[in-house]
Symmetry: C2
Subunit: 433 residues, 2 copies
């Protein structure tokens, strides 16, 4: 497997049919090929991620079958209920995998009341197997890696992605190698090290680790780096967030959705999922607004949105929202397009507001989110305060990860409210009752 | 509300009908009263937990309706699909709650192979809303507290229970008060403090905190301590683990099930759930063996089992499996009965074996469990090695909690396997490929 595209597709317009490169029949379900998001150039299905013509990002192209709500509802309570809409084989449930997804969509009465939003929902992806939405994308990447006959399942990461890759690889029985910066805190190392015998610490920062991963992907045969050479397959996993929101609302699109932006991939895929459901006749077409959330210490997309420009100016991240800290987001320009076209917006908040967002969600809905979710909830609040979000419309906010992974963010602002001696008299004196 | 039973039931044999004490019609579904597990004495539904005749534990008595598999399957993907079999109202889904349960039952191919068990499953409760099975029991306790008009939802705890109570209370909009020992580590404090404005640190150990809680429950009106005065309702929540296992196996009981033992309540309730399903005609009757798992540093039930005696001798816990560290388990004698009657066993392992159990489950199935799960998996291994478990029979092992809460247990035994400079040459030289 090579990270460099070595084979040209046979035609610029018609992707080569599946199976052309020794891939088994139906290995990618109803996917027909890869298609460049920029120039539309077609490439056969393979471990490719950049257009050979223009270096634009490759996306999966499909020939979707007719599918009904009932067929989906009869599927398992995980992302594979949507397998017909993903680049995975029809027998995907048979392969040991993490069975992520179909997480709770909770009506957020208290948070809605607090923010003055009439009809608010939280899509809570913190209850995924390794406690973030990354289990969705990694499950799709794992399927691709397996079908390509990869011998190693790998990623560079400092957090959620490392957990998801190491866990999914362990369960699938494929060798995993996870690269992390060597100065990563011990608890974060443990979260991945517990799953894999190959946790590689690299003396450098995350950018150094990432660069090394791309180099290895380009040099080594049979290495599937989830977010590098199988990225088109990986990214499709985020569509399931959009499918689930619509299905759990009763096969209906929400009016507004607020989504955190790191690379921007998730936001674009939720939008794509909504569009696919409309095309397939599974939901009624209707206008909806997409909002992007960033932390002020890494807000290149929000900055471009506010400046009214199309180009994203890369930044050096400096925020507690580490899982959103991508200074040069690959899908940033698509995020801008979608948020502008749908009438949404991109907004950002300070680290203190991120912390407040975490506590606000916990105290109102009993959901302990990580800094990314604190960012999204904090941005939701700011969107209301600045009049950018219509509080009379049905709104969904996405929580992508778990607060247990970023405990330090709030350890300075929450704690015991009283300390007493172990006696009823002390309890009464403290005025707790 | 009083923790002391002040009202006698009107009859020793017939529980008083629901509603008798101002409880709304249907508040407890098909529950008809409370019944003493020891002497069978009947008590009306109320915030009572000890038999007024013999001080035995009170349990919920029901008059179950006819119910079909299809009716259950048409319910939500959480514990409320079994609401007809729980002491909750028929409109329970309408009250804001955590929507716990219907967690994954994963086929454990790799762990089975490793241990030599042909047909092994893991019931993974670490993906519950606050990452332990406690969300199930707390959801039932919350319903009872609400129906009794309680003004405070409370518990003494050092971990999982505190998280579950604080989160569920926040979402329900009821005042929560959580009591913890003041020397609890900061990360564990944060896990609960993030949800509640009333985290009370008590200068003492867990026993002191627990004693204070019982005192408050006895003195204060309107306080629902989940594991004290609403315990009969609370404990019923564990039945859903048994229901789900059977349903997820395709409406079939397993041949063997391995369950951790703290108070012993969960094990007895899983057994009760299996028996109820048989009685209701939802599964076929068949023999099954129930096994209990304890950590050697707190193994009073295992000790009694091995000594062949009926009495549990209380111990002073000294184990890393803190969530199992109950030295005087209330349901220990019932655990002994069930394990002996079904042909199972109770076994215990060392703390090092607990740690190995955590890593074993993570490396084989991608599930990061806490020390309780490490205990259960480690005991499963020992049961095989000692010939107590039949490796040819279908076996289910229950994982009750998440490793993110007990990171310290394994931080000394897992970590990076290599540290390299950020270059491809260094990668090659390290022999990772």
């Amino acid at each position: 497997m090579s990270a460099v595209i070595t084979e040209q597709s046979q035609s610029d317009t018609t992707p080569v049919p599946e199976g052309a490169t020794g891939i088994r029949e139906g290995a990618f379900g109803h996917a027909t090929g890869l298609s460049c998001r920029e120039c539309g150039h077609g490439v056969e299905l393979g471990p490719f991620y950049a257009c050979p013509e223009c270096f634009g990002p490759l996306e999966i192209a499909y020939d979707f079958p007719a599918i009904t709500r009932e067929e989906i509802e009869a599927g398992p309570a995980n992302i594979w209920r949507y397998k017909a809409l993903l680049p995975v084989p029809t027998d995907i449930e048979q392969s040991p995998n993490m069975e992520p997804g179909f997480t709770r969509l909770l009506k957020a009465h208290n948070l809605g009341r607090e923010l003055g939003i009439d009809n608010l929902w939280v899509k809570d992806d913190s209850t995924n197997p390794t406690n973030s939405f990354k289990d969705r994308v990694v499950a799709c990447a794992l399927s691709a890696a397996t079908e390509f006959g990869s011998k190693v399942f790998a990623c560079p990461s400092t957090g959620n992605l490392a957990n998801a890759v190491a866990a999914a690889g362990a369960r699938a029985g494929i060798k995993t190698v996870v690269f992390i910066p060597s100065n990563l805190e011990t608890p974060k190392q443990v979260n991945s090290a517990v799953f894999t015998e190959s946790l590689v610490a690299v003396n450098g920062n995350y950018d150094d680790v990432n660069k090394l991963a791309s180099e290895i992907a380009g040099e080594e045969e049979g290495w599937a780096f989830v977010n590098v050479n199988v990225r088109p397959y990986y990214a499709e996993g985020s569509k399931t967030l959009g499918y689930e929101i619509a299905e759990q609302l009763g096969w209906r699109l929400p009016d507004q959705v607020v989504i955190p932006v790191a690379s921007g991939s998730q936001l674009t895929k939720v939008h794509k999922a909504f569009q696919e459901l409309v095309k397939l006749g599974l939901v009624e077409d209707k206008p909806y607004k997409v909002f992007g959330a960033q932390a002020g210490g890494c807000s290149p997309v929000s900055a471009a949105y506010k400046a009214g420009v199309d180009a994203i100016r890369p930044v050096k991240p400096d925020t507690i929202a580490k899982s959103l800290a991508i200074g040069n987001p690959a899908d940033g320009i698509y995020v801008l397009d979608i948020c502008r076209e749908t009438g949404g917006a991109v907004e950002d908040i300070t680290d203190d507001e991120v912390r407040e967002g975490i506590v606000l969600l916990a105290r109102t809905e009993g959901i302990f989110t990580e800094t990314a979710g604190g960012t999204t909830v904090g941005v939701l609040k700011k969107l209301v305060e600045t009049g950018q979000l219509d509080t009379t419309l049905e709104t969904v906010v996405i929580n992508t990860g778990h607060g247990l992974k970023t405990l330090d963010a709030v350890s300075g602002i929450v704690g015991p409210t009283a300390t007493i001696e172990p006696s009823y008299a002390a309890f009464v004196a403290a005025g707790i009752a």
